[in-house]
Symmetry: C2
Subunit: 91 residues, 2 copies
């Protein structure tokens, strides 16, 4: 199953709700060494990258960065950033 | 099943391949009117937003924008942009 199928199936359940939406996912998978340990490589640049992505999205959607729904999750060696935006209706 | 589970399950199958990776998904769901028609609302700003996201990612990963694997898919009222980056190993 592709990521596209997942998006598609998820969205199907919300049919009828005629909103224009953007969803952005940033997944960061870190190195694992030969012993199965995660390399403690969580550089400053990743949070800077996340902030800059949020700024770009806020600029284009004309929504305050503070109003974007940002969700961060960590599991094992994967960090996942999810941003959800419901766009203002265009008249 | 959350998007996180999907990422997590997908990545599990590549365990042992010790690469550091970034994956970025941008999904755009357009309006559907009461008759089930997609509103022909595909503004210029969305491709500009996509380009700017790619530039930001290229800047932070120090990879040429041309070298990023970018995949675009459309189905019904959803456009999906997928960017995959394998990060250079940090010495």
């Amino acid at each position: 199953m592709s990521l596209f199928d997942i998006f598609f199936n998820k969205k199907k359940t919300t049919a009828g709700v005629a909103k224009e939406r953007l969803q952005i996912i940033l997944a960061h998978e870190r190195n694992i060494d030969d012993d199965g340990n995660i390399k403690a490589n969580n550089p400053e640049w990743l949070s800077q990258l996340q902030n800059e992505l949020i700024e770009v999205i806020a600029k284009y959607t004309k929504i305050n960065a503070d109003d974007l729904k940002v969700h961060l999750e960590k599991r094992d060696n994967i960090d996942l950033l999810e941003i959800n935006v419901t766009l203002p209706e265009i008249k």
